[in-house]
Amino acid sequence: MDAGDNDHRPGDPVRPLPPSQGAEPVIDTQGLRMRYGSADVLHGVDLRVHQGEVVALLGPNGAGKTTTIEILEGFRRRSAGEVRVLGVDPDDGDEAWRARLGIVLQSWRDHGKWRVRELLDHLGRYYTPYGTPRRARPYDAGELLGLVGLTDRADAVVGTLSGGQRRRLDVAIGLVGRPDLLFLDEPTVGFDPQARREFHELVQRLSDLEDTAILLTTHDLDEAEKLADRIVILAGGRIVADGNAAELAGRVSGKAEVRYSRDGEHHVESVEDATGHVRELFATYGEAIGDLEVRRISLEDVYMTLVHEFESGRRTEAPSELTEVAR
């Protein structure tokens, strides 16, 4: 990645900050805890997502991402803490509340015998009574198929779709009720690069045009950086970082990597103020400088560092626990 590649292609408008920071958040959890038997999976998660915001939830396997999402979806009862999704406690969420959510899980294999358009039409029908003047429900099936690029597969039997097409159908079904809040659990697993690019454009369109808030989990850090307004890293049942990619980078280290050659000899330096450093290089050496490359610390570096910090932190705690047990 070079300095120019700051997730926006030239000509793209820079995405504004979420407009409704003052309004009631779409997702609001305080001290969310989950305990299975004697094992704590979530230790007090405080998460806030606003209207139209895209938030990526990252974390190693077992960090509690899926548990968190399932609690927010109303599929799992929490052990403790305050949770509000669209202003409602998910444990008490009624059907009108459910109609405002879109859910795309990892492993759908359902309705294999149905035809694509038939299924989308059918599932859309349930949302008809929940339309509002501002938000007509459901989405027109034809329009939706166009949006996810499945128009030419409209009459195909669902079981015959390729992995990526099936995933796009899942996304279409998640959207059919024109949700205010969309959950995407590892949406692009099994996508080829082309499908992935198209999917990313779709997500951006959704949050821009429809003002849909999106909470997505992914293991693809590039994807998180491209799509998300904000990145939340969950490790060991706690939020260990929360902010946009640049803020997270700042948390780990303010340094950037500067690579250049001087008189054919290659140099790599890690500096706080990359711009100032480069200006100085040119001022001092002028024409002798070549092959310049400024590399901001990547999200992957940030992620690895934060997760490692957390895990090593947990390791240092372990001996004291052991001595307590020994006593």
Binding site: E70, D110, P129
Partner: protein, 283 residues
């Protein structure tokens, strides 16, 4: 229109689509027809045997019981099986993620299973009428009896199917259900009048709905004189209504509770775990 009503109507559409799928697909159609076809062939070979104490063909006498058994298989067992399969592949979770989706799902399921159960009774009846003598379906009263027995039978059987399908977590687990049902078929007079069995076995058979469904269908399709070969030498319509009615009430009270409990436990990770187990089994 209320949102629940919308879901019921979506369920009607769903039932029709699923019914169409299972009657236009060779594999599904075979699973609907396979039991009566095999049974008809066997009973055709045995058609010269007679019902004890009469000159009536045992083959003809067994037709209503075979058709009743097929209603059990295509109504109750198939409903239970499709509930476990729908949990495995996420269909049920999809219904849960959709507003009022469970209403639509269950409406559709009950309708499509009713449809295939009726088809599974009527279609084998056509060759049976040509192959076997003595079936009496000319009168209106035969059809009236057939309709109410079948309707009451389905109301008794489908909730049991829903309960079984909720209790057993995997399609494999349903194997444990099929075996007792086959044993029940043996004692319920599907192929042979239970009046020839020891008394304790007769009592056992009369606890379960299969016997009464078969009895009711026999009363609809067989000559009046054959009532003499039944327990109590009568078609016992009142008792049929009583026993099937009790099963229906028990099932309709229990099924919503069990279904709700089962649906509450559905989540994405539950589906993923089951999927993983299913994949391990195939390896």
């Amino acid at each position: 229109m209320s949102s629940r009503m919308v879901a019921v109507r979506a369920g009607l559409q769903r039932g029709w689509i699923e019914f169409r799928q299972s009657t236009t697909n060779g594999q599904d159609l075979w699973s609907v027809m396979f039991f009566p076809i095999i049974s008809l062939v066997v009973m055709f070979l045995l058609r010269h045997n007679t019902v004890p104490g009469t000159g009536f063909s045992l083959g003809s006498q067994s037709i209503p019981g075979i058709l009743g058994m097929n209603v059990v298989l295509n109504g109750m067992v198939a409903l239970a099986l499709s509930l476990t399969m729908d949990r495995e592949d996420g269909t049920l979770l999809r219904a849960k993620a959709t507003p009022n989706g469970m209403i639509g799902y269950l409406t559709g399921k009950v309708l499509s299973r009713t449809g295939t159960a009726v088809v599974g009774l009527l279609i084998p009846l056509i060759p049976a009428l040509f192959l076997f003598d003595g079936l009496e379906l000319g009168g209106v009263s035969s059809w009236v009896t057939l309709v109410w027995v079948l309707a009451l039978g389905l109301v008794a059987l489908l909730p049991i199917g829903a309960v079984l399908g909720s209790v057993f977590n995997t399609a494999q687990g349903m194997g444990f259900v099929t075996l007792p049902i086959m044993m029940l078929m043996g004692v319920s007079g599907v192929f042979y009048p239970i009046s020839a069995f020891p008394e304790w076995l007769q009592w056992l058979a009369q606890v379960f709905p299969l016997y009464w469904l078969g009895l009711g269908l026999r009363s609809a399709m067989l000559p009046e004189t054959l009532a003499a070969t039944e327990v109590g030498e009568s078609w016992r319509h009142l008792e049929t209504i009583g026993v099937l009615g009790l099963w229906a009430i028990a099932g309709l009270l229990l099924a919503p509770v069990v279904l709700r409990r089962m649906a509450r436990r559905e989540s994405g990770s539950a589906v993923a775990v089951r999927r993983q187990k299913a994949m391990q089994r195939t390896m």
